[in-house]
């Protein structure tokens, strides 16, 4: 019978092509690393928190996977709301539940509300893929892309977000601090230093889960016992580090090739840098690699239309970190068949997202508007191929 079943393999659902999926490990992990990846995968995607295991009492989501279906971009259903202030003096509302609004609550509890006087912004959860590569871009490389005074006159003046490190984070060996502050690179405002920082904050602020790294309970404001083990946190960090980078599709198609040229000609690539490099990593599969995320990890002025009046770290309210464009074409597969783009998901198509660009991207947007219909289509096809 087993032979018969093997012969019936054609009746079993095949795996989608690798380039159609965002999840899955980077190639070249060792057996031991595969085990850690799987442990992190289970913690990230399968572990659902309940009141018994520490959920809340106020929260946004019940698991990591709730916000990142298939490790892709999130849906407005789990959009986060951050609140604070308009200047870069640091969040003035931390003692009033900041920086994140826990808009849901266990039965019998009341969700948090934005305190009077606070400004806020909404953040759609980003995709998780390829984060390990981005984590290993050296500060020197990031600073090479920065041009705060626009010395080359291209209208682009990206700056890193310098912030203080939380006590549980160890600086990278390649760190280039300034006045005791370090370049942060993850998040819409580049307010997270590394994936440990991001993971610990997400457990705490999104799910209401305390850890040895962040013991403060979001509901009571008191330090309590860890609700997730440090091993689990490290496994999730390892999982995020070793998720593969999205694989481009149809890259030889004429439209895609032409669209890529237009992408460069219109100046999109001035911020959405095609190619970056990793430094040394103890994870051989990530060490000294060249990759293509289409980001410079820097903050840019995106104009008044995208100024929500809220900021984090040294970022201005109108500054946003360049989001990586890799995986963009697969977004509808994690966003319920639709696009929810830009920091808060307000753009329902790639074209709409381009047209929402302002500030430093104003010139590129105008070039896009001057393209013929065919050229626009080619550019969109290229972006969908990422």
């Amino acid at each position: 019978m087993i032979i018969g079943i093997v012969a019936c393999q054609k009746l079993l659902p095949k795996a989608p092509p690798d380039n159609e999926l965002l999840d899955g490990p980077v190639e070249g992990l060792s057996y031991e690393e595969n085990r850690r990846f799987l442990a992190g995968d289970v913690a990230f995607n399968d572990e659902i928190f309940t009141s018994q295991t520490g959920l809340g009492s106020i929260f946004v989501a019940t698991s990591c996977g709730s916000c990142h279906a298939g490790d892709g971009k999130g849906h407005p259903f789990t959009t986060l709301t951050r609140f604070g202030q308009i200047d870069s003096s640091g969040n003035q509302f931390l003692n009033l539940g900041g920086p994140q609004l826990q808009n849901r609550a266990l039965p019998g509890y009341t969700p948090e509300r934005i305190p009077a006087g606070a400004t806020f912004s909404q953040f759609t959860p980003p995709a998780n893929t390829g984060l390990g590569f981005l984590e290993l871009v050296s500060d020197a490389d990031i600073l090479l892309m920065a041009d705060p005074n626009d010395t080359n006159g291209d209208g682009i003046s990206g700056v890193p977000n310098y912030e203080n490190l939380p006590s549980f984070v160890t600086p990278f060996s390649f760190a280039i601090p300034r006045n005791g502050k370090y370049i942060h690179r993850f998040g819409k405002k580049a307010a997270a230093y590394n994936l440990l920082h991001q993971t610990v904050n997400a457990y705490n602020q999104d799910i209401g889960i305390t850890s040895i790294f962040q013991p403060k309970d979001v509901y009571t404001g008191l330090n309590i016992d860890p609700e997730v083990s440090d091993v689990t946190v490290h496994n999730v960090v390892f999982y995020l580090q070793t998720l593969k980078a999205p694989i481009q599709r149809n890259q030889s198609d004429v439209e895609v090739v032409q669209g890529k040229n237009i992408f460069i000609q219109t100046g999109c690539e001035n911020c959405h840098k095609q190619t970056l490099n990793t430094g040394f990593s103890t994870i051989a599969a990530l060490s000294n690699k060249t990759f293509h995320p289409y980001t410079d990890l820097l903050l840019h002025d995106m104009g008044p239309g995208l100024d929500d009046g809220y900021t984090e770290g040294s970022a201005k309210t109108f500054e946003w970190r360049t989001p990586p464009l890799w995986g963009l074409g697969l977004s509808p597969k994690s966003q319920g068949g639709q696009y929810f783009l830009m920091h808060d998901g307000r753009a329902k198509s790639i074209e709409e997202a381009i047209l929402l660009h302002g500030g430093e991207a104003q010139q590129s947007k105008q070039r896009f508007q001057q393209l013929s219909a065919q050229e626009r289509n080619n550019l969109i096809q290229f972006l969908k191929s990422l």
């Binding site: 019978m1 659902i48 309940t50």
Partner: protein
């Protein structure tokens, strides 16, 4: 040494002799051939064995299977499973007082449950009282779920992953039947312990009534002190078939404790309809069940947990070969098909107004061979499409299952 071996031999043969029972003393309980049996009669229409004139009858069933399933190219490989071993004990305490119990071992000994253990008092055909651990009569599957009766290895998803079959609780109730020439009318009504907070606070990340089965204390104390009502009416015509309408509902949350108010009272309401018939001439058996679940989920809780659910299944079983096979005189080979659907979260996202998904559709063609009515060997092919809450592309699961199930 020789003495030791002789002693062992003596013990072996003497114990064997004691263990043997004259088959003439074992008798099957009398089978009802009226054609007017209802799903509610299932607990008593099992094949029991009775020893001589002892007032106790024994029975049970077992289910074991092999499966190879694959989801989107990934398989857990070849799996052999002992899904269930169930033991029945019934006793006629007097002519109109009966006791029946059902103890089930699931997945080896991973779960051991008393599924049914009640005393029935017959005052009149229209008025019987039942007390103990009863199976809440919601839908038909919960009442009539014995493995050997089904051509499918998996139980219906709507019955076990939306409704909580097998779902039993401690309580009391009444039931009765009224027969006419071609018709039988029946009712059941029970008050039992019920659900708990876990139905919206569980590791399934969805409103999940079966989560309350984790609460073993429900056989000892009510979670919130509010009884769960379950009621069913059923009607059957000898030629048309059986139709059942059922309701189960009550407060599920702990709204007060130690005299202090913790929350408002929140209800769960479940409605079900079931129908079965056998088409004349071609003998196609059709069995269907559909249910709706409404749960009062707090507005401030996550939309991950649905306020409304619905789902059901329909089975078609067609006897295709009815003749002796391998010496089994009453052998029957059936072709069967199950179609099932569950929507665990029927509603719209507040943020977008789009439909919330979280649904499953599956189709299961099957072939079964019944060498006797009480034993089934079955081969199933299963294909599932399951969408997450956002409605992203469905995860596809398919595979083959082969298994046996028999009363003993």
């Amino acid at each position: 040494m020789r003495l030791f071996i002789s002693s062992l031999t003596f013990i072996f043969f003497s114990s064997t002799a004691v263990a043997q029972v004259d088959p003439a003393l074992l008798r099957r309980t009398v089978k009802d051939t009226s054609g007017l049996l209802l799903n509610m009669d299932a607990v008593y229409t099992r094949p029991f064995l009775q020893l001589g004139k002892l007032p106790v009858a024994l029975g049970g069933y077992a289910e074991a299977n092999y499966q190879y399933l694959q989801q989107d190219g990934v398989s857990e490989g070849h799996q052999f499973q002992m899904r269930r071993l169930t033991l029945f004990v019934s006793s006629s305490i007097s002519k109109r007082i009966k006791f029946l119990s059902e103890i089930e071992f699931e997945d080896g000994t991973k779960e051991i449950n008393i599924e049914f253990a009640s005393v029935d008092f017959e005052f009149a055909p229209l008025l019987n009282m039942r007390g103990g651990i009863v199976m809440n009569p919601i839908g038909a599957f919960n009442q009539n779920h014995d493995g050997p009766k089904w051509e499918f290895i998996d139980r219906p998803v709507s019955a076990t992953q939306m409704l909580p079959a097998t779902w039993s609780n401690v309580g009391f109730g009444v039931f009765g039947k009224k027969y006419t020439k071609d018709w039988v009318y029946a009712y059941e009504a029970y008050l039992t312990n019920g659900f708990d907070d876990k139905i919206i606070d569980n590791a399934e990340n969805k409103t999940f009534l079966p989560a309350s089965k984790e609460n073993k204390n429900r056989f000892e104390e009510s979670f919130n002190g509010s009884p769960l009502f379950t009621g069913k009416i059923a009607v059957k015509n000898r030629k048309i078939g059986e139709l059942g309408l059922s309701y189960m509902g009550g407060i599920y949350n702990k709204y007060q404790d130690d005299g202090l108010q913790l929350d408002i009272k929140r209800r769960v309401n479940i409605y079900a309809i079931d129908f079965n018939t056998t088409l004349p001439k071609i003998n196609t058996f059709i069995n269907a069940e559909w249910a709706w679940v409404n749960v009062d989920v707090p507005e401030t809780y996550t939309e991950q947990f649905g306020r409304k659910q619905q789902g059901g299944f329909i089975d078609f079983v067609q006897p295709v070969i009815e003749k002796p096979v391998f010496g089994f005189e009453k052998s029957v080979i059936n072709a069967a098909l199950r179609i099932e659907y569950v929507d665990w979260n029927k509603g719209k996202f507040k943020s977008t107004g789009d439909n919330i998904s979280d649904e499953l559709f599956s189709i299961i063609p099957a072939i079964s061979w019944r060498p006797t009515a009480q034993t089934v060997i079955r081969l199933n092919y299963r294909y599932n499409w399951q969408k997450d809450i956002l409605g992203n592309p469905a995860a596809k699961l398919a595979g083959f299952q082969f298994g046996v199930s028999t009363y003993f």
